[in-house]
């Protein structure tokens, strides 16, 4: 298979630059092209500016600042010959067909014989572009549609033309999956493809029903956000983030390109939206749109008043109750049966969305799976439209939709396609998802790359059994699939670490040492772990059970040590949050295989504590590994700041840089490939003749001078009002532990010495009222308290 090492992105706009950033994250040599500058000597100034701008974007497109070095700014005047040795060229310029065709014409002579060409258009015809290309290039051309922001949105739509070489398409899908970490959906070449076609329709339907039921924008956002499994920004806040002008542009495109769509009448920019755009209120980028911030108050546009008012209209209690009913079927039935306008609104939105998806599926996608994943991965919904429908009772809901069509309540009168009623339980079945075109259920792709995902993102119809159980209790499950690797998964909420989890880890290591080659710490879903179970700890403290509490801390430390000194290799395989104890366990494993989007950190200061599961001991141990003639202070200070500020790494790559993950760690871009790679790593270490580390009895510490140096930092932060007295207290204790206590600089201590220090200070801090206030506040609000 062709290996991709060098890529070019044409167009350094918001999307182009961010796609380039993600290519650079993935360690690819990346050229970013923009028009040549008219003035000055630097013809690549525009691209250079875009590259520099990547550092300021939020959320950060760069997983690690060093990725920036892999991006080379370029311009079409001087650098086109450099395209010859690019393996992949992605066009990401403005959405104008003539401009795109012009550009293709300009670059074609420079492309290498094996260069793949792809367009990141969000909805223009891929076939039309292909038609303008020479024959041999047509086989190497297709659409690749990233979603914004490309590092974070999982979806990439892959759109072949009739002439696209299937081998190339498979290779590109493989590359985008493993190297870029994306979820691939193959789409048909129809306007706006799948994600935006359905996603934008859903927004239009929501706007239509907002007006019809006389609801306000903040009310609709409260209804269409996390309560129904969609992002917090819901409908109108999302529009502000996307940009109201962009939104209007997409609606215009739908109107122009889909004249025969039965819902065509609704592809219009509402008058109020046009007014906002005309007034220059384009959303977040102009700090004013459907919402705006006045001081600390968020205000929302109130159409009745014709002015902004403080936002905050919520969901009615009776509708809340409906959405909390046990099953989706009960929820949907309750919404439909209710007279409450909010309930009626939600039912209408769901109904018209389902109706539209059913009628358009055959034209735009191969299977219902593709449509559902496009919406889940491209719009951040927990379930796709067909999954929602199926969960609510396929036939019942279909019947209700049919009734509403008959009654003229739906947005379009088009009847549901025949296949809808022909399916008993819905389009997702154990043997695949329904394809109206092929009139059968189609299994997931058999492309070899997907063998790297033993448990891919599951559809509603897919329930995994996760191998064979070795043992299971309320806290954990140890399981395997016959390959010699035992996998330990936590069952606690947010995978927090309770006393039972600690005991179970000991048990798991014991069992794995007997019967397996390696032990993998992996969770069936994110997060990896939110850290120690604070409620248990606080209860013990408040009951004055200091001895029991100290014993639990000791058990925590011994658990980390057990992971480190087991006779078999232990691999930590985090994705998502890995905080506190979750970070400490990971720091004690032989190897880490982390998803790119792993957010790891020692955040104990947030609850007034310090890491005492061996985390600080590990830091001291790692500092001791520096060459003797190197001043350890800059490294010590960096670690200190990381821990004392509770810093969480913004990616697995950054975690390596911060030192949480060792340099041998593997960063896996696709979250569902993590387990596969972790097993390979564990088995590799075992096969390579694994020897557990020997106890470290010669840890060189910074001692008194190190503590004094760190205190100097703390004194200035305290005097400068950057930290509180209690922060100072915690910081001083962290300093003492990572410096090995009040001993002479350069003295050597063992792990027990450091663990004793950790435990002593942890227990002392835990008994302080301010720390207990912090713990209680965190348990109550989920947010840290500054006191």
């Amino acid at each position: 298979m062709k290996s991709i090492r060098k890529v070019a992105v044409l167009g350094a706009g918001v999307m182009g630059a961010q796609i380039a950033a993600h290519m650079a994250n993935a360690g690819l040599e990346t050229l970013l092209f923009e028009l040549p500058a008219n003035e000055g000597t630097d013809k690549s100034a525009a691209a250079r500016k875009a590259v520099a701008g990547l550092k300021k974007l939020k959320p950060p497109p760069l997983a690690h600042p060093a990725a920036l070095r892999h991006i080379e700014p370029a311009n079409y005047e001087e650098h086109l010959p450099a395209l010859a040795d690019c393996d992949l060229v992605i066009e990401a310029i403005a959405e104008k067909m003539e401009w795109k065709l012009d550009l293709f014409h300009k670059i074609t002579p420079h492309l290498g014989e094996g260069t793949w060409l792809a367009s990141n258009t969000s909805g223009l015809s891929i076939q039309k572009m292909a038609d303008a290309l020479p024959d041999d290039l047509q086989a190497r051309f297709c659409g690749v549609h990233f979603f914004n922001p490309p590092r974070y949105m999982h979806l990439v739509e892959l759109i072949p033309t009739q002439k696209t070489d299937p081998t190339m398409l498979d290779a590109l899908e493989t590359f985008l999956t493993t190297r870029m970490g994306k979820g691939i959906v193959r789409a048909k070449d129809t306007p706006n493809f799948i994600g935006n076609r359905i996603g934008v329709f859903s927004i239009l339907a929501t706007m239509h029903h907002t007006a019809r039921f006389g609801l306000s924008f903040d009310e609709v956002d409260a209804l269409t956000g996390t309560r129904i499994g969609r992002p917090k920004s819901a409908t109108y806040r999302t529009a502000d983030v996307v940009g109201l002008d962009t939104m209007a542009h997409v609606i215009h495109t739908m109107s122009a390109t889909l004249p025969d769509d039965p819902w065509h009448d609704y592809f219009q920019v509402p008058g109020w939206l046009q007014k906002l755009i005309d007034a220059g209120a384009l959303g977040q980028k102009t700090r004013c749109g459907i919402y705006r911030k006045q001081g600390k108050t968020i205000e929302v546009l109130d159409l009745e008043k014709g002015d902004y008012r403080p936002s905050g209209k919520g969901v009615a209690d009776e509708v809340k109750a409906m959405l909390k009913l046990d099953t989706p079927a009960e929820q949907m039935a309750a919404l439909r049966a209710s007279d409450h306008p909010q309930a009626q609104f939600l039912w209408a939105c769901f109904r018209d969305l389902f109706h539209y998806c059913a009628c358009q599926l055959e034209a735009i996608a191969d299977t219902a799976r593709d449509l559902d994943f496009a919406i889940r991965w491209g719009y951040g919904w927990k379930l796709g439209p067909f999954e929602l429908w199926q969960a609510a009772g396929w036939k019942t809901v279909a019947g209700w939709i049919g009734e509403d069509i008959e009654a003229g309540k739906t947005m379009a009168a088009t009847p549901l396609p025949d296949w809808v009623m022909a399916l008993e339980h819905g389009p997702h079945a154990p043997d695949g998802s329904y394809s109206p075109a092929r009139q059968q259920f189609i299994d997931r792709s058999s492309l070899p790359v997907y063998r790297r995902q033993p448990y891919p993102d599951p559809l509603i119809s897919e329930r995994y059994s996760y191998g064979e159980t070795v043992f299971e209790n309320d806290a954990v499950r140890l399981w395997h699939e016959g390959d010699g690797a035992a996998v330990l998964s936590f069952k606690t909420k947010m995978h927090t670490i309770s006393r039972e989890v600690l005991d179970s880890i000991h048990q798991a290591v014991n069992v794995a040492e007997q019967d397996f080659k390696t032990l993998i710490l992996w969770q069936t879903e994110e997060p990896f772990s939110a850290g120690a179970d604070l409620s248990g700890a606080l209860a013990a403290l408040q009951a004055g059970e200091i001895e029991a509490f100290t014993d639990m801390v000791d058990r925590f430390q011994q658990t980390s040590q057990r992971l480190r000194y087991s006779s078999i290799p232990v691999v930590s395989a985090p994705r998502g949050l890995a905080l506190g104890g979750g970070c400490e366990f990971t720091m004690h494993c032989d190897r880490v295989v982390a998803a790119l989007e792993t957010y790891i950190g020692l955040v104990e200061v947030g609850v007034g504590l310090l890491p005492a599961g061996g985390g600080l001991k590990e830091i001291a141990r790692r500092l001791s590994a520096l060459p003797e003639n190197v001043d350890p202070f800059p490294f010590l200070q960096r670690w200190f700041e990381t821990v004392a500020m509770g810093k969480v790494a913004g990616s697995a790559l950054e975690a390596i840089d911060l030192g949480f993950l060792g340099a041998c760690s593997k960063v896996v871009f696709h979250p569902h490939e993590v387990l596969h790679v972790a097993r390979q790593q564990g088995l590799f270490l075992a096969e390579a003749g694994y020897t557990p580390p020997l106890p470290d009895r010669h840890i060189r510490v910074a001692g008194k001078t190190g503590i004094a140096n760190l205190k100097l930092v703390l004194v200035n932060m305290l005097e400068g009002h950057f930290i509180s007295e209690h922060d100072f207290e915690i910081g001083s204790r962290i300093a003492e532990v990572i410096c090995g206590g009040e001993v002479e600089a350069g003295e050597r201590v063992d792990e027990t010495w450091l663990l004793d220090l950790e435990r002593k200070h942890f227990v002392e801090l835990a008994q302080m009222p301010k720390t207990q206030e912090r713990i209680a506040h965190m348990l109550k609000t989920g947010k840290p308290l500054r006191n």
Partner: protein, 397 residues
């Protein structure tokens, strides 16, 4: 009591570069120092270098590139004979002025007839706290904790105690830039400036060769024409979340060097020299470390008293602008005439290469007095860990 007077016959300095990103970022402080030592020697063709009694160099962080007795190293690098010795001294920000006072003292005591006083600092190469921090654990007691305070924190404490507002600090900073720019424009620094030719050896990766990039900056790099009260007001406090001291109203970190040639009356007469100035007096005094910025308030009256002068006799005051907060506190406390303080701008605009500043600003003062015809002038500054220094000169041009 001294037995003879000490005179300054030459005072030269390099342009001051911005630390880390400026034109001297790759220039060694010992090379800069050698350059200005050579400069004052060459400016005096009558001088047999063997006559130089000693070279006293101020440096605030005398280590690494400016370590191993940078005075001696630079003296040799300047091509002076082996017989000329060199000593490096350190009183942080007043080191360069301290060097002048010590050189003058050797002459005034009759122990030497020709001396070089100088200073150098590369804040690009040696950071403010040195390369290896090694705090004494004993300082964390109530009495001594202020030793741990960063200079910015002490400036905040001065601002609080003497009630210097953010607005006043920013206005002072803006004026510093405006005065410095006007002075550069008028060429007022030309007589004291000895440009140094910087040669950067850069890898030319395409040709596989080392490319030499040469430049000879002739004016100070710090003053900003694009600053304004609005821009200064937008900056966040740098040292105290609730404070008023910002990067904009603090001195800039810098690289630079300066040197003065001092002679006795005997040498003056023997060679019929026309001196720039007579060294009049010097004083240094301690204050609490947490308000180190107020140091000149103690040092200035003492220096004046030694000289038998009153404040009104001073025509020009070079008050090192470590921070606008402490500069204004000193000005107000002593009721200094603001028109006479830093007429060509100060460290907020021109930069503050710690140990070199005393020598550099002495050069500015002496050439300034010569140009304007004032009689007495003073160089003064606050000093970390709580001190102040002041030196008075009499213009003889």
């Amino acid at each position: 009591m001294h037995i003879q007077q000490a005179y300054i016959v030459s005072a030269l300095r390099t342009p001051v570069g911005k630390a880390k990103k400026g034109f001297y970022r790759h220039t060694r402080p010992d090379d800069l120092l050698a350059h200005v030592i050579r400069g004052v020697v060459e400016a005096n063709p009558w001088l047999d270098p063997q006559q130089i009694g000693d070279v006293i160099a101020g440096c605030a962080m005398p280590e690494a590139e400016q370590g191993i007795n940078v005075a001696r190293v630079s003296t040799l690098l300047a091509g002076l004979p082996d017989q000329v010795p060199g000593v490096t001294i350190n009183r942080f920000c007043s080191s360069g002025l301290q060097a002048v006072a010590m050189a003058a003292d050797r002459i005034r005591l009759g122990e030497a007839d020709v001396m070089i006083a100088c200073g150098t600092e590369s804040m690009s190469m040696v950071p403010m706290m040195g390369n290896k921090l090694a705090t004494n654990p004993a300082i964390f007691t109530d009495e001594n904790v202020a030793i741990a305070y960063g200079m910015g924190i002490t400036a905040e404490k001065v601002a609080q105690k003497w009630q210097v507002s953010r607005e006043d600090q920013d206005a002072f900073a803006l004026r510093s830039h405006q005065r410095a720019l006007a002075a550069i424009e008028a060429g007022h620094f030309q007589a004291e400036t000895l440009p140094y030719t910087v040669r950067h050896s850069l890898p030319d990766l395409q040709n596989g060769t080392v490319r030499i990039q040469e430049s000879t900056p002739a004016v100070d790099e710090g003053p900003r024409a694009d600053t304004s009260l609005e821009k200064l007001a937008r900056l966040r406090p740098a040292f105290d979340a609730r404070g008023s001291v910002t990067a904009g109203n603090s001195s800039q970190t810098s690289d630079g060097a300066g040197a003065l040639l001092l002679v006795s009356e005997k040498v003056l007469k023997a060679h019929n020299l026309e001196p720039l100035a007579r060294f009049v007096s010097f004083s240094v005094a301690g204050v609490p470390p947490e308000i180190m910025g107020i140091g000149p308030v103690e040092a200035i009256p003492r220096a004046l008293k030694q000289a038998g002068l009153s404040q009104a006799d001073l025509d020009w005051i070079e008050l090192n602008e470590a921070f606008a907060a402490q500069s204004l506190a000193v000005i107000r406390q002593l009721e200094l005439d603001e028109d006479k303080v830093n007429p060509l701008g100060g460290a907020i605009a021109l930069g503050h290469p710690l140990g070199a500043t005393g020598a550099i600003r002495s050069a500015t003062l002496l050439h300034g007095l010569a140009r304007t015809g004032g009689r007495y002038g003073m160089v003064t500054m606050c000093i970390g860990t709580g001190m102040g220094a002041a030196g008075i000169f009499e213009n003889l041009r």
